[in-house]
């Protein structure tokens, strides 16, 4: 799985990759080293997704404020 920079992703892309990782992990075919790196990537994706849900995006706020 080639790793895309998370910052360039949107929520759906991040969640899709997360789902792929979960499926791969659950398949039980990953060795411990692959598992470790997958879990690390997954936790980055999760925290990115959580931020999308709760953190204020100032750029977005400004765009909306400027709409008339």
């Amino acid at each position: 799985m080639e790793e895309i920079d998370i910052k360039k992703m949107n929520y759906t892309q991040a969640k899709n990759e997360l789902e792929q990782i979960v499926t791969a992990i659950e398949s039980g075919k990953l060795d411990i080293d692959a598992l470790t790196s997958s879990v690390k990537r997954a936790s980055e994706l999760i925290s990115f997704c959580k931020q999308k849900l709760t953190k204020t995006d100032k750029e977005l706020q400004k765009i909306l404020d400027d709409i008339e």
Binding site: Y11, T12, K15, L18, E19, I21, V22, I25, E26, G28, L30, I32, L35, V39, A42, S43, I46, C49, K50, K52, L53, T54, K55, T56, D57, L60, Q61, I63, L64, I67
Partner: protein, 413 residues
């Protein structure tokens, strides 16, 4: 001629009398209300109109009045039954008396109203609008849109001063999960004649900026009853149905489902309920995320546990194997050592026997034994005498017995 002429008031008086005579009773009238307004005395003035069903052009018109005491009663009754304010643009069935006033001319005085007729008309109109939208293939277009997983950029169409707008914003921003929402107000008139055009204009402004939004909320709140006419409008419904973003309606009307509600992606009853729906949608998204997280944790834990167990098992196997190996070696060594012991013993025993034999033999052949058996030894000068040739008469010889010795002298050979 002048004698037979009438003043205007006389003529109008004749008309009044004629009308009174010809139409003395009250009559049930089917008509559409228009230009409904109340003056400060509480009297309600309006126009009754009839339109051509096909061309929509007005083909009949009459002024009407509802005196304040009647209006109080009728409007309450009407609102209670229909959930709808008595206002412009309604098809009504009213009982009227026909008046003709010399100064004010022809008018209809309302004395009673049948709300069920209006309900029927509203329903019939709604059905007509729905049928038309269906025929045009747009009725369910907005419902077919998928609400994005993260729906937090909301274009809000509302009156800026409405209590419902405040409720909506409050509910959205005070959500317990701490979700972040971006609500942008697009003000519109939500009641009366101008509302249809105003709401459509707001939709058009959102359309231009549609890439910045996930959904549209059309909210209108407060008040027991409402002027819901515009929400049954074909034009508005058509705009909503074909809008590229999902529209969530919260018109604040418990009883009726307007055409706007029907074509919207989602219908909520109140502005607060719209906010709750949006929050709930985010909760589902968040729950999915947490579920994925839990799955990763649980699978990782079980993999790690399994690896640990495997390691433990492997190490146990190593220990066990080593033990077994040692035991086997021990057993071999033991066996060798016991064999060796046995062999040594046997070897010793055989040596022992040999020695014993020797001993017996030696004992048997020892001089002592020979002496015991009655043989004697003869010595001369300390040396054994084995032949008589070694002796001569007069030699002194020693004779040894088993238990002593004697000396004698050779006297004869």
């Amino acid at each position: 001629m002048a004698d037979k002429s009438l003043s205007l008031s006389e003529l109008n008086g004749c008309v009044r009398d004629a009308i009174q005579q010809a139409l003395p009773e009250t009559y049930w009238l089917r008509a559409e209300t228009s230009d409904v307004r109340r003056n400060r005395n509480g009297h309600c003035y309006l126009e009754f109109i009839e339109k051509n069903a096909i061309t929509d052009s007005i083909i009949a018109k009459a002024r009407g009045v509802i005196w304040s005491n009647v209006y109080e009663m009728l409007s309450q009754y009407f609102e209670k039954e229909t959930g709808q304010q008595f206002t412009t643009g309604l098809n009504v069935l009213v009982r009227v008396s026909i008046e003709f006033h010399e100064l004010y001319g022809y008018s209809l005085t309302v004395v009673d109203i049948d709300p069920t007729f209006t309900l029927g008309e509203i329903a019939r109109n709604r059905q007509l609008v729905i049928n038309r939208l269906e025929q045009e293939g747009v009725l369910t277009l907005n419902k077919e849109l998928i609400l994005p997983e993260i729906t937090n950029r909301i274009a809000v169409i509302s009156s800026p001063t409405a209590a419902g707008y405040e409720d909506f914003m409050h509910q959205l921003n005070k959500n317990r999960s701490g979700f972040k929402f971006y609500a942008k107000l697009f003000p519109a008139i939500m009641q009366g004649d101008r509302s249809e055009a105003s709401i459509i204009a707001a939709l058009e402004r959102i359309f231009v900026n549609s890439e910045h939004f996930d959904a549209v909320a059309i909210i209108r709140g407060g008040g027991a009853s409402a002027d819901l006419n515009c929400f049954d409008s074909y034009l508005l419904a058509n705009n909503i149905a074909q809008f590229p973003l999902p529209v969530i309606s919260g018109i604040g009307h418990e009883r009726d489902v307007t055409v706007t509600d029907i074509v919207s992606h989602t219908r909520a009853k109140t502005p607060t309920a719209v906010a709750e729906f949006i929050i709930e949608h985010m909760s589902v998204t968040a729950t999915e995320l947490i579920d994925l997280q839990d799955r990763i944790i649980s699978v990782s834990e079980s993999v790690i546990l399994k690896e640990k167990n495997d390691l433990l098992l492997a190490s146990k196997e190593v220990v066990h194997g080593a033990k077994m190996l040692l035991q086997r070696e021990f057993a071999t060594v033991d066996k060798y050592s016991s064999t060796m012991k046995h062999q040594i013993k046997q070897s010793l025993q055989s040596h022992y026997h040999h020695l014993e034999n020797r001993e017996q033999y030696i004992n048997m052949v020892s001089p002592d034994n020979i002496l015991k058996r009655g043989y004697t030894l003869t010595l001369k000068g300390g040396a054994f005498v084995t032949s008589v040739d070694d002796l001569k008469v007069g030699d002194k010889i020693e004779t040894r017995f088993k238990d002593g010795s004697s000396e004698s002298e050779i006297t004869k050979l």
